[in-house]
Symmetry: C2
Subunit: 413 residues, 2 copies
């Protein structure tokens, strides 16, 4: 039975019929399916009944163990969603290097759903946005404290050198952002999506800025306010529990780190309007830091279901057209830091694994397995170039308050 | 007669009728028209018969002298085209600071035609491209020698400090490009659109690269080949008189400085295909340096007619969607150097004015006036933010041969 003959088999029930009639056929059939989905990756697949298949020649980087034929069919039917579901439940396991496996899969460049624009045209209403954020960011600060840096910065760090510590790299990232913004003492900053408040506090403490920071995660806002009080920065940093769409006031600087991914394409124009009305006429500048893509594609279905509902990583063009163009905002600088995000995720993953027993006690094994897959898959995606991390500096189109060169970013102060 | 009453007057012949009946009405009518086109700019308009109008209150920055009412009507009918036409012929003159006048006009942000996409959807065929280029770049090397730098670099320079000389700034630009590309000795480079060859020669001489450079301007190629011979670089730089669409071979690096503006939107996909097939599978990198926009708009009609036929300055989104996305090329770095282009044009304009008598002898006064307007208008456009200068560094999406930080660009070597 050739791969071509198998191609039309799209209904797994008919495949199941094939399996009943001729159990040995499953190997060739499954290989055909998987190759069509992924291309050739040097991975072995082992079924619980002992059947073992090699997807491609060469030393296998990992063995995927599938509990039963039902699971195999489920994964083959919708691998983007069901591999993650089955891995999380333990119906699928991986022997060997999970990261290497995911990296090989990303390397085949078949993991992206290029119908992203349509799939993610659903709006994140105010209440949907709150649900989405609650789903992920309100898992409990104790959980995040187990594996994030000491300031709980849950976005891509900036490693001055690859061997910098995670704590140092998160501080370096905040400094990089502040330097790209050329923050001056007394300047007013609005931050859309502030996590646990580290950047807002950093800009106030280290740069003398006056910051209003918005976030719809109650847990995060509570923590951020507590930190502001502890540091005596309440007078200079205000944490507002509200949606970015409800930002009011005008500011010298607009900054948003790791929130645009949660906005969703249908609200880009609104996001641009918020930036526009937050900056004074004729001047003002800002920075957007977000997970992006080289070309439009939806977030992986399993990530969208289990980890980041409503999220969409945009291309630079989508951000330009959707957010910046309407109000003549001018792109001054773009930097792609995807390898820094891979490194950040490597740190998070290692720390998460060291804390896995504690996490299992807080939640359960399914949770641990799901997060293991999410962190490994994200690291693989940034390493393989399926995901990008863009920092975009922009300014009012008519403003000439522009640094002459970027050299100042890299000189010691 | 209020401005509102005049608004429907779109046929200048009826306006002419108004002028015949009541000569004094022209002032209020013309002011209404101009204000609708430009907004309020502190400029005076003087007609040869002595009538003088102030467009707005405040000290006028310049006086526009209009030879006769026919010229006034002509300019009002299609200011984007006919102001330039009338200035060039001398039917319109400017007393005072031409640059300040153009800057004020750009500052009103009403000079852009946002129908750019449609207006410039015409393809630049191979022969049209050759005609377009011949029109501008084959005016004679002697002409360009009068006012460009010593190496005849006719693209935005990079001034390490604002007071750097033009010659030094053009060398600094070539170094910036080579450093952004991380050129290594022996690497193969293809250059699409090479002007008089300065960058190709620089990359070969200073970085040991092996360069193939394409250009359809016969005058420029002839000069470039002569320079290569004089410098003994024929073995490492090949100048090919051909269209970028006919580039063959594979290279480590693709570079194009100041050519994308001449490609035109309909050929962006083709341009992306050329980049794709010029780079090896899985690796390779490149740089695009081009005049762009914050939002889509056509080139000014007079510039398109007299200076750069077929040209279109794109947005970053248009370049991303049109050129880079289809082949998963990843944007690593974008820098906006528009103030450097304003400074470059200031140098060119000053040098052009010092050589104006010689240029008049080579061509005629109409030519001098046309180029004065083009150089002043371009400087104003970059100063006002109507035009941008983008340098985009990209790499194959799957390549991890990426600099860890951009610090190396700014460290002394």
């Amino acid at each position: 039975m050739s791969q071509e003959q198998l191609s039309p088999v799209s209904d797994p029930s008919s495949a199941a019929a094939v399996l009943e009639r001729e159990p040995g056929a499953i190997g060739r059939w499954a290989i055909g399916r998987i190759r069509r989905n992924l291309g050739e990756v040097p991975v072995r697949v082992r079924l619980a009944d002992g059947l073992e298949l090699a997807l491609a020649k060469g030393t296998p980087i990992a063995t995927v163990i599938v509990r039963d034929r039902r699971t195999l069919l489920r994964v083959l039917r919708n691998p983007g969603l069901n591999f993650g579901e089955a891995y999380m439940s333990g119906d699928v396991d991986v022997e060997g290097d999970l990261l290497a496996l995911l990296l090989a899969v990303h390397g085949t460049r078949r993991t992206e759903d290029s119908n992203g624009r349509r799939l993610f045209a659903r709006r994140n209403t105010l209440s949907a946005a709150r649900d989405n954020v609650h789903h992920h960011y309100d898992l409990g600060n104790d959980f995040y404290r187990l594996w994030l840096d000491e300031q709980l910065v849950y976005t891509c760090a900036y490693f001055p050198t690859p061997d910098a510590s995670l704590d140092a790299a998160q501080v370096a990232k905040m400094d990089l952002v502040a330097r790209k913004l050329r923050l001056q003492p007394g300047e007013r900053v609005v931050e859309a999506g502030c996590g646990w408040g580290a950047l807002a506090l950093h800009m106030a403490r280290e740069y003398g800025a006056s910051v209003r920071a918005f976030n719809i995660s109650r847990e995060q806002i509570r923590h951020a306010r507590q930190r502001a009080a502890e540091e005596g920065l309440q007078g200079r940093v205000e944490f507002v529990e509200d949606d970015y769409r409800n930002i009011t006031g005008t500011y010298d600087v607009f900054v948003s780190v790791g929130m645009l991914e949660h906005v969703g394409l249908p609200d880009y124009r609104t996001f641009g309007d918020v930036i526009h009305r937050s900056l004074p006429r004729g001047r003002g500048r800002g920075l957007l830091h977000f997970i992006g893509r080289n070309r439009p594609a939806a977030m992986n279905a399993w990530i969208a279901k289990r980890i980041f509902p409503g999220a969409y990583p945009p291309t630079l063009a989508e951000v330009g057209e959707g957010v910046l163009e309407a109000h003549d905002l001018s792109v001054l600088d773009v930097e792609n830091l995807r390898l820094h995000y891979a490194k950040t995720l490597e740190h998070w993953r290692m720390r998460f694994e060291r804390a896995a027993d504690t996490v299992r006690q807080m939640f359960d094994d399914t949770f641990v397995r799901g997060w293991r897959l999410y962190l490994s898959g994200s690291q693989a995606a940034f390493l393989a170039g399926s995901l990008q991390l863009f920092q975009v500096v922009f300014a009012r189109g008519e403003s000439n308050d522009i640094p002459w060169t970027r050299g100042g970013l890299y000189r010691e102060t």
